[in-house]
């Protein structure tokens, strides 16, 4: 599969107009933020809580009643596990991720404050705010600056240097998907730097302290305390929690990899962000991101990362607005001759899988990276 990008190279004036038009979409949306958006995110938060409670109760009932009436064990425990996974997916994607971007800071509700929110995964919110909100969103798909390109583990673009280690990446990618939250948890520790001897162990230990605390808390919550509540019937509960967390990991992995590693997604050299204009910044976000088609359920389940392009344009605008903004963004891109990367989840993820397999082997970029702007 090869890239099929058909982008017009924009002049400086066109690029400025492009940026201004995207800014105008933003301003129009900001002007209408109000009660509906606050009600929406609170409804999501309430769903997370109620579905999570239902899942945990069903697991408990399935484990205890299942010991007496074995026919109940599997169906009830599976239902509980699926509900718990659903609650965790919603909490990660539509609630935690979006709140931590500061999308609802304007409400002034302390429960929705981006700096204070702590989410329900192994990694700390503070580390995520740094690796994701800052590094990834500022330096989207810039090689050597955006650590999310392969997470320092996978080679997904021919521009990344090949090493024999990458031959194992089809297997590594699967393991990484299953353990995704743990990978994210240690992302900011940059173990690679320690292996390379660039980081002292004392420093690493210092940085690990809050992460370790959060990890311990998560293990205690899902794998010790909740199962213990079922007493002698703890095993199905433990298993249900493990499966729910893995399901959430797999789903978030798929969604996130579909966001930037599809066939048409581009990466950029460091030089491209030198003196980057606002228009260039938008263009880089556009060319580095890809959307997923689907209805409202897809939007909800992906935390609206089905609108990855809009999310990268407007990371701090409530995600429930992306679908409406996308209509205008798409039209602006079309008018400026810019490819708007979108497709169904199976197709997009198929392209990701192809990248993982193809670039496990040595590969070369087809052509020099496309310029974001016409040279003068």
């Amino acid at each position: 599969m090869t890239s099929t990008i058909r982008n017009r190279v924009l002049s400086a004036a066109e690029l400025e107009r492009f940026g201004n038009e995207i800014d105008a979409v933003r301003a129009r949306t900001v002007a209408t933020l109000g009660q509906g958006d606050a009600d929406y995110i609170r409804a999501v938060a309430a769903s997370v809580r109620w579905i999570g409670l239902a899942g945990r109760l069903l697991l408990m009932v399935g484990a205890i009643a299942g010991a007496l009436v074995p026919a109940l064990l599997w169906p009830v425990c599976i239902a509980g596990t699926l509900l718990l996974a659903l609650s965790k997916i919603l909490e990660n994607m539509e609630l935690g991720h979006n709140v931590m971007h500061g999308q609802f800071d304007w409400t002034g509700d302390p429960q929705l404050n981006g700096q204070a929110y702590e989410w329900d995964i192994a990694g700390t919110s503070d580390n995520w705010r740094k690796t994701h909100n800052h590094h990834h969103h500022t330096w989207t798909n810039v090689r050597g600056m955006d650590d999310d390109i392969g997470y320092g583990l996978l080679r997904l673009f021919p521009e990344q240097r090949w090493k024999p280690f990458h031959l194992f990446q089809p297997v590594i990618a699967v393991v990484f998907a299953v353990l995704f939250e743990w990978g994210i948890a240690i992302q900011d520790l940059r173990l690679g730097r320690w292996f390379a001897g660039k980081l002292r162990f004392a420093q690493l230990r210092e940085q690990f302290r809050p992460v370790g605390r959060k990890m311990g808390r998560q293990v205690l919550r899902d794998y010790v305390l909740w199962p213990l509540l079922a007493g002698p019937f703890f095993l199905p509960v433990l298993l249900g929690n493990v499966v729910a967390n893995v399901l959430r990991n797999l789903w978030t992995y798929i969604v996130i990899f579909c966001g930037h590693f599809t066939a048409d997604a581009e990466t950029f050299p460091r030089e491209s962000v030198r003196n980057e204009s606002r228009g260039q910044w938008y263009l880089r976000q556009l060319r580095g991101s890809s959307n997923l088609t689907g209805g409202r359920l897809m939007n909800l389940m992906t935390g609206n990362l089905s609108h990855q392009i809009e999310h990268h344009f407007f990371p701090d605008i409530p995600a429930n607005r992306y679908a409406a903004m996308a209509v205008e963004v798409r039209e602006i891109c079309a008018r400026h001759g810019q490819h708007y990367n979108t497709g169904s989840m199976p197709v997009q993820f198929g392209q990701v899988v192809w990248r993982i397999l193809r670039h496990a082997f040595p590969s070369k970029p087809r052509a020099a990276s496309l310029a974001l702007q016409a040279s003068a």
Binding site: D109, Q115, L225
Partner: protein, 367 residues
């Protein structure tokens, strides 16, 4: 470890709290606590009763959640409500503080005021409002050695009213004269109650001073505060402790007239926040950093992040272009302008981004 042995009950309660804390994230605990026992949250208060206080004011009786720290007469609390999805907060001085923990606030409709309009017109009995801990310095003098004089103008009556009520409850243990100013008669609050106090309690005297109406009752007067007026109504001012509350100008005049004569003078001034509508980016403003207790003079021309860095500070920051939210911090008061959109923001907000915001007026930041 404390030296005192802990009771088994306290230990158990602590253990339950710690286990609950691990079993559910803090947001989840807050969510369930709110559903199980809505009255537990010390940061919220329920509206139990509402009644008209004057032509353009209502009185709300509030029941703060358990654990709310209480309030002494004369102090203020921050009251907030959600309006169009945004929490809007303003300070009010409770006009009554009851023994059962309930408080009353009297809200006058301010022209263009979001929260005052909401509280006057829309808030229903049973609704929940945000409430903050009490603050403020002007309270009843501890010494009961001298008679008191209260000078109130406009909304300045509110802290003085709760003090008057507190004294009335104790049978007016010290002589008190209250002079209260309003433009028109129908803008005065608590008139019947104050007249009742004056009738029943020999130590209490009240005068309603009108600046835009004629005086018809015996206890009414006309005119703004001046030396002659004070001399007429309070001939013994040199024996009194004076407490004044009202707009800045009123308190300034009161201080000039009374501070040197009276036994003691205490005051609290308020003025509706000056709404900056600057286009001008020249000059500088005073930025108070509340957490680190510093006051800086910063230029209005650059972003707050750049200005703070130029002043030698190192606030947390990331992208420096308003995307990553790393530099978000709370603003308690003042006006700011967004560098990209040009939008002016006057409300106290929980998260302003230093990198894309410049000061439009003096500010207080949570830094």
């Amino acid at each position: 470890m404390t030296a005192r042995p802990r009771s088994a009950r306290r230990l158990a309660r602590g253990l339950v709290r710690r286990v609950a804390d691990v079993m559910a994230p803090p947001q989840a605990l807050a969510f369930w606590a709110d559903r199980l026992v809505p009255g537990m949250d010390a940061g919220r208060a329920r509206v139990l009763e509402r009644r008209r206080a004057s032509a353009d004011a209502v009185t709300l009786v509030l029941q703060p959640g358990r654990g709310w720290g209480g309030c002494r007469p004369g102090r203020h609390v921050s009251i907030g409500a959600e309006i169009e999805g945004r929490r809007v907060r303003r300070s009010y001085s409770p006009t009554a503080i009851r023994a059962d923990g309930r408080i009353e606030i009297t809200v006058k409709r301010v022209a263009g005021g979001k929260l005052s309009a909401f509280l006057c017109d829309d808030v229903a009995v049973g609704a929940w409002l945000d409430i903050g801990p009490a603050f403020g310095e002007m309270t009843l003098p501890a010494q009961r050695d001298a008679p008191l004089l209260f000078l109130a103008a406009g909304s300045g009556i509110t802290p003085l009213m709760s003090m008057t009520r507190a004294l009335a409850e104790r049978g007016m243990p010290v002589r008190l004269t209250l002079l209260v100013w309003a433009r028109r008669r129908d803008e005065l609050c608590f008139v019947d109650e104050l007249r009742g106090f004056a009738r029943d309690m020999p130590g209490f005297d009240v005068r309603f001073m009108l600046t835009g109406d004629t005086a018809t009752e015996d206890d009414e007067g006309i005119g703004r505060i001046d030396a002659a007026l004070l001399a007429k109504h309070v001939p013994d001012i040199e024996t009194r402790r004076v407490l004044a509350c009202g707009p800045n100008d009123f308190v300034d005049v009161a201080r000039r007239l009374a501070a040197s004569q009276a036994l003691a003078f205490d005051s609290e001034a308020f003025t509706p926040p000056r709404i900056a509508d600057d286009i001008d980016t020249s000059g500088s403003v005073q930025v108070t950093l509340a957490a680190s207790q510093r006051v800086l003079t910063l230029p209005r021309s650059s972003s707050l992040l750049e200005a703070l860095e130029a002043a030698g500070l190192a606030p947390a920051h990331g992208c420096r272009m308003g995307i990553c939210n790393t530099c978000a911090c709370g603003k308690r008061s003042g006006s700011t302008r967004h560098l990209h959109t040009g939008a002016l923001e006057h409300e106290p907000v929980t998260a302003l981004r230093l990198c894309v915001t410049r000061a439009a007026s003096d500010l207080v930041l949570d830094l």
